[in-house]
């Protein structure tokens, strides 16, 4: 069979094969309760990957996502007491704002996004250290439960986090498929010169893509902080690699223009299955990043569009 035609179907086939394989080896794996808690646990990572999808969809990358989430855990812990529920808005605004900076630096100062976001990530990390005084912070448990307790509660046997994830997926899917923003981002990813020659304000849409990525990384950080009831400048370390893996394994290549948020949902589930199977096979947490690194290389090598990328440096 022609690999090019087979390629778009690769992600969900991979997911099914993985689920079946792990299910055969580990007979507790396919129980609904196990699957639900597995899916619930991956939600912060999924939200971050959702944001990253926008950056990668236009052919860029956002390496600041993890530092952004770190920063937000600190922001949320520090400002929950004075601001109450409004802290959520503050978190998302900080993420959106720093994403805008990455986008501005990329489009106006012409710094490639892997450098601009790396630099903004460094800034976010420093801010987190400054705000936290380099300590792990704890939220007031009672206040957390009254303001954000619903996020980590369950409805029946379904973790509420899954509803949050589904809601965000629906919103981003709507943006991608039905709005001028989504159409413009697709055009920029698939053929930026043609988009520019059609009179599209390419720079504005690219900045927006990075801003959305930042805002969703912030949302991921907030949820993570609520789950752990606290924050620290390094608490979300280890998120970035699996999040990028989720986007690429899902079928949005680094060259952009194809794939999208639905692909990322599938990619995140693949990551979840790989992760839980590693637990089952007793692979140490310290070795998991190695596996994700290898999966990432394989995913990029398989999905990248060679026609768009003549020279790789």
């Amino acid at each position: 069979m022609d690999f090019q035609r087979f390629k778009p179907h690769l992600p969900w086939i991979t997911l099914l094969v993985l689920v079946a394989a792990v299910g055969i080896v580990d007979d507790t794996f396919l129980r609904p309760a196990n699957l639900l808690s597995l899916a619930g646990d991956i939600v912060p990572l999924f939200i971050m990957a959702l944001g990253l999808t926008f950056a990668i969809y236009i052919g860029g990358i956002d390496l600041s996502a993890q530092s952004m989430a770190n920063l937000i855990t600190v922001v949320a812990s520090v400002y929950l007491a004075p601001l109450g529920g409004w802290v959520a808005l503050l978190c998302v605004l900080v993420g959106f704002g720093m994403g805008t900076i990455s986008g501005y630096v990329t489009t106006k100062l012409l710094v490639p996004s892997f450098i601009s976001t790396l630099a903004v990530g460094g800034v976010a990390f420093s801010l987190a250290q400054y705000l936290s005084g380099q300590r792990a912070l704890n939220m007031d448990a009672a206040q957390r439960d009254s303001v954000f307790g619903w996020m980590i509660a369950k409805t029946g046997i379904v973790p509420n986090e899954l509803f949050i994830a589904a809601g965000l997926l629906a919103i981003t899917l709507f943006i991608e498929r039905r709005t001028t923003l989504g159409r413009a981002l697709k055009a920029v990813g698939a053929g930026e010169p043609a988009a520019a020659a059609s009179g599209i304000n390419v720079a504005r849409f690219k900045i927006l893509a990075f801003a959305i990525s930042g805002a969703l990384a912030a949302a991921a950080g907030l949820l993570f902080a609520v789950k752990l009831s606290g924050g620290a400048p390094t608490i979300a370390n280890g998120f970035l690699l699996p999040a990028i893996v989720a986007v690429l394994v899902g079928g949005t290549p680094l060259t952009g223009g194809v794939g999208g948020v639905l692909n990322t949902a599938i990619g995140t589930l693949i990551v979840a299955v790989i992760r839980s199977s590693m637990l089952y096979f007793n692979i140490q947490a310290t070795q998991q990043q190695m596996v994700f690194g290898l999966v990432l290389i394989a995913a990029i090598a398989l999905t990248i569009d060679r026609a768009k990328l003549r020279i790789v440096k």
């Binding site: 039905r178 709005t179 001028t180 923003l181 159409r183 413009a184 697709k186 055009a187 698939a190 053929g191 010169p193 043609a194 988009a195 520019a196 020659a197 059609s198 009179g199 599209i200 304000n201 223009g257 194809v258």
Partner: protein, 501 residues
């Protein structure tokens, strides 16, 4: 000594070389002329080994050879002097000359610079260039770089036994008159050691230098002319081939334009680079054609009018209102449409559907509060697919899979469906087959009838003459001459060429 027999080369959708016979004798200078797209560059690529022919034979001294890549061709004594210069500007002259062949100066991987400099000096002497071989290439003038390029190819003399064949691709296009004379003198002297193939669009130069001229058209050699056998006019006629048919360019459909309605006006526009003091006026229904050689500044003017470049001086007005700090966004908002030369790069977005491409420039019109009305978009696309008889399986077909002509129709539909009334067309028929070309000509007349002002950079001179109401001839970034092209009183090819070259 070097011979091509029945060479055939096909690309998807294009028969680029049709059974070409070509011969270069020892010490001969052979010319190769033809219009854009006649197959000159494909033939050259076959000769220096960048393309492998699909059929036919390449013979050197009667023996069949086959080159896997340009390096293999070089081993057999065939070298290419590139038009877009192939020197790496941040390396020194000697490093460039021996690029890829440093091993002869190396010991245990360390290069002995002194002996390389000496060897380079010897090569430079062949082209009578007296410069320090350690000079960084970026510091040389264009003419000097051209000579270094030639010296680089002449290293083949030491490496290869037997005779050399050296291709010169448009070597004079950036040279001043005296430099051209020097180059020609040098080439003639070098014929004791090498044969040359000289490719140029300046027919007078080709006739001055060459012993024999191959004339190409539509992928085939249509004539071989010995020195002094034919005039410039006769060769040009061969290049164009047919007597230009008036119907072909839809000349009977040409009507006088509305001279009272000015759509766009440029006054004393200067650009970075060579373009100076451009003034022009585009009226409703007018087809205004910019004519000039490659690099004369035609495209730069077009892109300035679309807001992709900013003028350093002068004023532009669109429909009577000033257009300062124009960007493509504001240009589109004011009714401009741009059909770029690179259709696949700037014209359509491959990977997006026909309807998505058509509404890309006018998403605001098909959305409310940022939410697209996709049903409306698809209806619009269906209407235009029917109107322009675009061959696509449906409005959701991927544009990347359409043929060139249909892609171009999608690009035109994008602007026309959005109501653009100033159209900037850069080589709108480039790479299209004849039927698709005629469709584009019809569309140009339709637009003209509808009162659209059209600024055209045509693919060929005949196309420019046939389609336009007005021609502006541009040379070295300045307007040389204005021609009125009313039906029945159109200027001839040679009227234009006189001002172009």
């Amino acid at each position: 000594m070097y011979e091509l027999k029945n060479i055939d080369k096909k690309f998807p959708g294009v028969h680029a070389l049709k059974s070409v016979d070509f011969q270069v004798k020892r010490g001969e200078i052979v010319g190769l002329v033809g219009e854009n797209g006649a197959g000159k560059s494909t033939l050259m690529k076959v000769i220096y080994g960048a393309y492998q022919p699909d059929g036919g034979q390449v013979l050197i001294d009667g023996k069949t050879v086959r080159f896997a890549d340009p390096r293999a061709a070089m081993e057999q004594g065939i070298g290419m002097v590139f038009q877009e210069q192939s020197l790496i500007t941040n390396l020194s002259v000697m490093e460039n000359i021996f690029l890829g062949y440093e091993a002869q100066f190396a010991r245990f991987g360390v290069i002995h610079w002194k002996s390389m400099a000496q060897a380079a000096k010897k090569q430079l002497a062949k082209v009578k260039l007296d410069i320090d071989p350690a000079t960084v290439t970026a510091d040389l003038s264009f003419a000097q770089r051209q000579l270094v390029e030639l010296a680089k190819v002449l290293t083949l003399q030491e490496r290869v036994k037997g005779n050399l064949v050296i291709l010169l691709d448009e070597p004079t296009s950036v040279l001043a008159k005296e430099e051209v004379a020097l180059l020609f003198k040098l080439v003639r002297e070098l014929t004791t050691r090498a044969s040359f193939i000289f490719v140029s669009h300046r027919i007078d130069e080709v006739m001055e230098l060459c012993d024999r001229i191959y004339v190409m058209k539509d992928g085939a050699v249509v004539d071989v002319v010995d020195r002094g056998q034919k005039t410039v006019e006769q060769i040009q006629h061969k290049m164009v081939g047919r007597n230009v048919d008036k119907q072909y360019y839809r000349e009977p459909r040409q009507k006088p334009f509305d001279a009272s309605t000015v759509l766009m006006k440029l006054e004393n526009i200067d650009l970075v680079g060579r373009v100076k003091d451009i003034s022009l006026t585009l009226h409703a229904g007018e087809v205004l054609c910019l004519v000039g050689t490659e690099g004369s500044g035609r495209e730069a003017i077009l892109r300035t009018m679309y807001g992709m470049r900013s003028p350093t001086r002068g004023t532009m007005t669109i429909k009577g209102k000033p257009a300062q700090a124009l960007s493509p966004q504001s240009a589109v908002a004011r009714g401009l449409g741009y059909v770029p030369r690179e259709r696949k790069i700037e014209g359509i977005v491959g990977g997006m559907t026909v309807y998505e491409n058509m509404t890309l420039s006018q998403m605001g019109r098909h959305s409310s509060a940022g939410v697209l009305r996709i049903a409306g978009e698809r209806a619009l696309a269906k209407e235009w697919i029917a109107k322009l008889s675009i061959k696509a399986s449906s409005e959701v077909a991927d544009c990347a899979n359409l043929s060139g002509g249909n892609q171009q129709k999608v690009v035109l539909a994008k602007w026309r469906s959005g109501g653009s009334d100033i159209m900037l067309l850069d080589h709108p028929t480039r790479g299209l087959d004849i039927g698709a070309k005629e469709d584009v000509y019809d569309m140009i007349r339709d637009m003209s009838d509808a009162g659209v002002g059209i600024l055209l950079v045509a693919d060929t001179l005949e196309e420019a003459i046939g389609l336009s109401h007005t021609i502006l001839v541009i040379k070295d970034g300045a307007i040389q001459k204005r021609f009125d092209c009313n039906v029945g009183a159109k200027p001839s090819l040679f009227d234009l060429l006189h001002y172009m070259i």
